[in-house]
């Protein structure tokens, strides 16, 4: 089980907010400068981290130190994930392969894949019906 959280001090909260915000600003700048690929998942991470940070600011201003500290932590989780994806894809790009594994569900066109799956399912049913028909016709012909 997780330990009970220790209430952070105001300076601790401010330091975390400042660190996370700076890391997010750097990520945003690097992401904007990326010309080879605009990964939607990174854009989502930046947006989510930014939203959490704004709420964390408001919490700190209202004196909710713990809430602000936790929200800044959540913002860091998003920013860190976005940073890792950006760096992984930069390496893949530098290596010249540019064969990226898509981790975002938004980019997957579901219609084509769904049609394929429906066709496969239909084929399975047709095969079963053909087998049943064969068994039935074999018996009724006698």
């Amino acid at each position: 089980m997780a330990k009970a959280k220790q209430q952070p001090g105001k300076n601790q909260v401010k330091t975390r907010l400042a660190t996370v915000e700076l890391a997010l600003a750097k990520l945003t700048e690097d992401f904007k400068a990326t010309t080879y690929r605009q990964n939607e998942l990174i854009a989502d991470c930046i947006k989510n981290a930014n939203d959490e940070l704004q709420t964390a600011f408001k919490s700190l201003f209202s004196g909710n130190l713990q809430e602000s500290f936790d929200l800044a932590g959540v913002a860091w989780l998003y920013a860190d994930f976005g940073r890792q994806i950006l760096e992984a894809e930069a390496i893949e790009h530098i290596l010249g392969e540019s064969d990226y594994i898509e981790l975002s569900e938004i980019s997957i066109p579901w219609e084509g894949k769904a049609t394929d799956l429906l066709c496969q399912l239909e084929q399975s049913i047709l095969q079963l019906r053909a087998d049943i028909e064969e068994l039935a016709s074999g018996e009724s012909a006698i």
Binding site: A88, E102, L121, E122, L126
Partner: protein, 415 residues
């Protein structure tokens, strides 16, 4: 003598007046602006953003028709204070610019630490796949996306302070990722990445370790079966498929905190794998022991499992994407149930036919069924056909719902 406040308290009160605060805000904006003159890096963009928002707060306070410097207008003061607060943070960022900034530090028993482990493992797996140019099937790509979804869900739960559920979601995500990684390794006949370090954390629960061990045992055998497929009987393959399905159910049960179900499923998986391993190792003997009747049953089981998996993949794919996904998924559930029932009736009819024919053959030397047996068999077959037809209709219905049209995207043929 009337009471007089001490000097420092009078100064403090003065500083608290709206007028003084606005002055302070404008002065700070000027100071900070000077510090970032001519700079175009990430920090200066961030600080300019802070200045811009502080100015907005200041203008909003001044533009407020109710604002009166002499009165204590709480909303306007709040906005000015918020602007000052932003600037204070910007100052702090500028002052600590040259210091070594360390990222937030989370203890290794916190949910945040585990979330970072999951995001790190996702990225390591992504990089390993990209570097080794592995072939990854669409189904595995979808599963990887679902792990990312679990990461996002865990953060949402963390925000809602549902710490235990958040931790379970992360840990289930790690187990799913480990399972997918093993699948990809088997498909590509090579090891791509070592994720074992995750389960070396002492904070990892025993149940989770047991699921991981069961995954390891299952995929060790699966790799051996892939290397020597001729040695694997239908029974071994069927037991392996069953074990993988149980592993997925165990992860799902872990996510839902159904600990007793987890223990039972892990036990059953381990048993299945033990039996499958023994059968695999004694392949030649096992082949002799397999009866002729068991093979069609195994084949039918395997067809049902494949159908079920395809339905699941389709349901996950369309969920939250297609407009009528929920209704379509219900039709797909129905199609799966009808298909399963039809297949089992067909299997039953096949087995009954084989058994009756062999019994007749023993007595008469021929192999024909009696009229009553034939009638009974035809009845079963008719039922199976009706059920399979229902599966077709439900599949067509689901397709219409998904693509919002009168006719499905493919033509349903009559067998």
């Amino acid at each position: 003598m009337p009471f007089k406040l001490p000097h420092h308290l009078l100064e403090w009160l003065k500083e608290r007046s709206p007028e003084a605060k606005i002055e302070q805000l404008v002065r700070t904006i000027g100071q900070i602006d000077e510090l970032i003159q001519g700079r175009e890096d990430a920090l200066s963009v961030l600080v300019r953003n802070h200045i811009c928002m502080a100015e907005e707060d200041c203008n909003a306070a001044l533009g407020d028709s109710n604002f009166d410097n002499k009165k204590n207008n709480s909303e306007s003061i709040r906005r000015i204070e918020f602007g000052l607060f932003r600037l204070e943070l910007a100052k702090q960022q500028l002052n600590s610019e040259h210091l070594e900034s360390s990222p937030p530090n989370f203890d290794d028993d916190t949910v945040e630490y585990r979330a970072l482990e999951l995001s790190g493992a996702i990225i390591k797996t992504k990089m390993a796949i990209e570097f080794s140019n592995c072939v990854v099937s669409e189904a595995h790509k979808l599963k990887l996306v679902s792990v990312v979804k679990m990461f996002n869900e865990s953060i949402e739960l963390l925000k809602e302070n549902k710490l235990d559920r958040s931790r379970r979601t992360i840990e289930a995500g790690l187990l799913c990722l480990y399972l997918i990684k093993r699948e990809i390794e088997i498909d590509n006949h090579e090891s791509i990445i070592d994720l074992d370090y995750i389960w070396k954390n002492i904070a990892v629960e025993k149940k989770q370790r047991r699921i991981k061990q069961a995954i390891e045992a299952t995929y060790e055998l699966k790799a051996a079966v892939c290397n020597f497929p001729q040695q694997a009987s239908a029974k071994v393959v069927s037991r392996l498929e069953d074990a993988v399905e149980k592993l997925h159910s165990a992860i799902d049960a872990y996510l839902k905190a159904q600990d007793e179900v987890v223990i039972e499923l892990v036990y059953n998986t381990t048993l299945q794998i033990k039996l499958a391993r023994e059968a695999f190792q004694n392949a030649a003997m096992q082949e002799d022991l397999d009866s002729a009747q068991a093979q069609p049953e195994d084949q039918i089981d395997s067809r049902v499992k494949q159908f079920k998996t395809q339905i699941l993949v389709l349901q996950r794919l369309v969920s939250n994407r297609a407009k009528q996904a929920e209704l379509a998924n219900r039709r797909l559930d129905a199609a799966e149930k009808y298909y399963q029932a039809a297949a089992h009736l067909y299997g039953k009819a096949l087995a009954a036919k084989a058994s009756k024919e062999s019994a007749v053959a023993e007595i008469t030397g021929g192999g024909k069924l009696s009229d009553s047996d034939r009638k009974e068999l035809l009845k079963t077959v008719e039922k199976a056909e009706a059920l399979a037809r229902s599966a077709s209709l439900d599949l067509e219905f689901a397709s219409n719902l998904l693509f919002c049209k009168q006719k499905p995207g493919y033509e349903l043929n009559q067998p």
